[in-house]
């Protein structure tokens, strides 16, 4: 028996159309319009849908306050979690192969940039530059090579500027592998020179004035230059004119014209000064520095033979300035270059070497004044005319 008694048969008869049921439940049939047997139901369902009463919303402020806190906390945590998960998802999507490709690309780009800017080590930059030059890609060569290029260019404008003088210095280094190697030992040039002098003295006198340590050091210099000690010392000695040499050259400068005389005088002083110190241009670094700095300009501007200018600026310029066609300029050129090229170090060897390099690319022969004059002439005129 059903809760409604024996009315189960009546229920079967009271089937409700599906559409009617939907309308009734959705409140689309008002009680008045509903079938009679469903009018009460429609009325009850209407009450169920009544607007909210006070009691039902009595806790709204409290509930919404708590909900708002929870909402903001959840939004914030989701935002932070979202950033992390986004990064994770990106990394997860990147397979190992892709990651490797990206890293490789970054390395290639970085290396390419470094090569293009010449920032790679010279041992890498040089072969790379050579290799790429074959395929039409030009990247700079290592700094020493670029200086060589500058030197090659600068050699045609020796004396035009201090920059060309510097380039000339570098060019000199480049043209003599032996001396370059020795001179690369920055701050040790004096040592090499001194050691060589001691070595030469030892060789000349026959008895040892060179300690074993010094000899070892000299040997190491020679080894770094890939030559023997005697050859190294010979070349270094050849690079620097002797005091006599410069002095005589200065004396020769005296024999030239008025301006040449003046220059010769200055040159003589200069040469004598250096000679007096017996350092072959190693000394007198202060004045030498000044003269060296303005040497290029002086030599360039005094191409016509206004040695006065050169005189005013320094001893080295004297030689050059006053020797557009004369030996004295050539004789002084090394001195001035010496002082100009390396400043305080008074690197006579280098300066001398530079002078020889910028003149003709050949080494001077110490004491060979005749040769020196000839070469000095060409050098002087070269420096003046360029």
């Amino acid at each position: 028996m059903s809760p409604f008694g024996d009315s189960s048969g009546g229920m079967r008869d009271a089937r409700i159309d599906h559409e009617l049921l939907e309308k009734l439940l959705e409140g689309r049939i008002p009680p008045e319009a509903a079938p009679h047997r469903l009018a009460e139901v429609a009325r009850a369902l209407q009450v169920l849908r009544a607007p909210a009463g006070r009691v039902e919303l009595s806790r709204m402020p409290e509930t919404l306050g708590n909900a708002a806190q929870a909402l903001h906390g959840s939004v914030a945590s989701l935002a932070s979690h979202g950033r992390t998960s986004m990064l994770k998802s990106i990394l997860a999507k990147l397979s190992a192969a892709k990651l490797a490709a990206i890293v490789t690309a970054a390395v290639v780009v970085g290396a390419g940039s470094a090569a293009a800017t010449g920032a790679l080590p010279s041992s890498v930059q040089r072969p790379l530059s050579d290799a790429l030059s074959h395929v039409g890609i030009s990247i700079p060569k290592p700094s020493s090579n670029s200086n060589v290029k500058a030197s090659a260019k600068g050699s045609s404008s020796v004396g035009a500027s201090s920059a060309s003088k510097k380039a000339s210095t570098n060019g000199a280094k480049h043209r003599s592998g032996v001396a370059t190697a020795a001179l690369k030992l920055k701050g040790k040039e004096h040592d090499v020179l001194g050691l060589c002098m001691a070595y030469e003295a030892q060789q000349a006198s026959g008895h040892g004035s060179l300690s074993a340590g010094s000899m070892k050091e000299l040997s190491s210099f020679a080894a770094s230059s890939k030559t023997s000690v005697s050859a190294l010392c010979k070349e270094i000695a050849a690079l620097r004119p002797s005091a006599e040499h410069r002095s005589s050259a200065a004396q020769q400068g005296k024999d030239h014209g008025a301006s040449g005389k003046a220059h010769a005088g200055a040159g003589e002083q200069h040469g004598q000064g250096q000679h007096g110190q017996g350092q072959h241009g190693q000394g007198g670094s202060g004045a030498a520095s000044g003269s060296g700095t303005s040497h290029g300009a002086a030599s360039g501007s005094t191409g016509s033979g206004s040695g006065q200018t050169g005189l005013g600026s320094g001893s080295g310029q004297t030689g050059l300035g006053g020797s557009p066609s004369g030996v004295p300029g050539a004789s002084h050129f090394p001195a001035s270059s010496t002082t100009g090229s390396q400043g305080q170090d008074g690197l006579s060897a280098q300066g001398t070497y530079q002078g020889s390099d910028s003149s003709s690319g050949s080494l001077w022969t110490p004491g060979a004044n005749g040769h020196l004059s000839a070469r000095g002439h060409s050098e002087a005129s070269f420096g003046a005319t360029q």
Binding site: E40, V41, R49, E56, S58, M60, Q69, S74
Partner: protein, 201 residues
């Protein structure tokens, strides 16, 4: 466009804004759904209806930013949670039921006990003019079997369609329609009887 659809669209926008932390949008959702939710819970657990509803809203606020779906899905979720909360509270209440020192001979469910199929329903059903919607919902829940009452109340109070109710109740859609149909017929019968009684009186 029906007003109900427009209302649903507005609620969709509100849900979308609330998902991003808009408190006003969340309040709008609360005002729209709280009455039906409260009545649904009140029909089963009148004493803790407010507490359960508050818990549901806070839970919704926590879930909403990660919730995928519109207003209809969120409403179905809310009533599903409400139904589970009520069921859980009822289980906890039953554990605390004390055995009466003297029991009635019938062994019937006590008045107000959870409805179940075949139980003796409260036939003292009157739709009084002053009766609130929550009280009426409770009356309906007492005269109808639980599943029928749920199928009916979820439709009327929650505005869920058959498929959504089927999802909430874990039943087939056709079963839900059948339950609703039976609920309406049974309710009609009871109301008719009560109406006849009132007339004869």
């Amino acid at each position: 466009m029906r007003a109900e659809d427009q209302h649903s669209m507005d609620l969709d926008q509100a849900v979308d804004r609330a998902r991003h932390g808009d408190e006003l949008a969340f309040a709008a959702i609360y005002k729209a759904w709280q009455p039906g939710l409260y009545r649904f819970v009140y029909a089963r657990e009148p004493n803790v209806a407010e507490d359960i509803c508050s818990e549901i809203w806070v839970s919704m606020a926590k879930v909403l930013p990660r919730f995928e779906g519109g207003s209809r899905e969120l409403r179905a979720w809310a009533f599903s949670v409400a139904r589970r909360q009520v069921a859980g509270h009822r289980r906890r209440s039953l554990r605390r039921v004390m055995v009466p020192l003297f029991s009635g001979s019938s062994g019937d469910d006590p008045p107000g006990a959870p409805g179940c199929a075949g139980r003796v329903v409260d036939t003292e059903f009157l739709v009084e003019a002053e009766m609130t919607a929550a009280e009426l919902a409770r009356k309906i829940a007492r005269v109808l079997p639980e599943v029928q009452a749920d199928a009916l109340l979820l439709k009327v109070l929650g505005g869920l369609d058959a498929s959504e109710i089927a999802s909430v109740m874990g039943k087939k859609e056709a079963t839900v329609r059948q339950l609703q149909h039976r609920a309406v017929l049974r309710l009609s019968k009871v109301l008719s009887r009560e109406s006849e009684k009132s007339v004869t009186k």
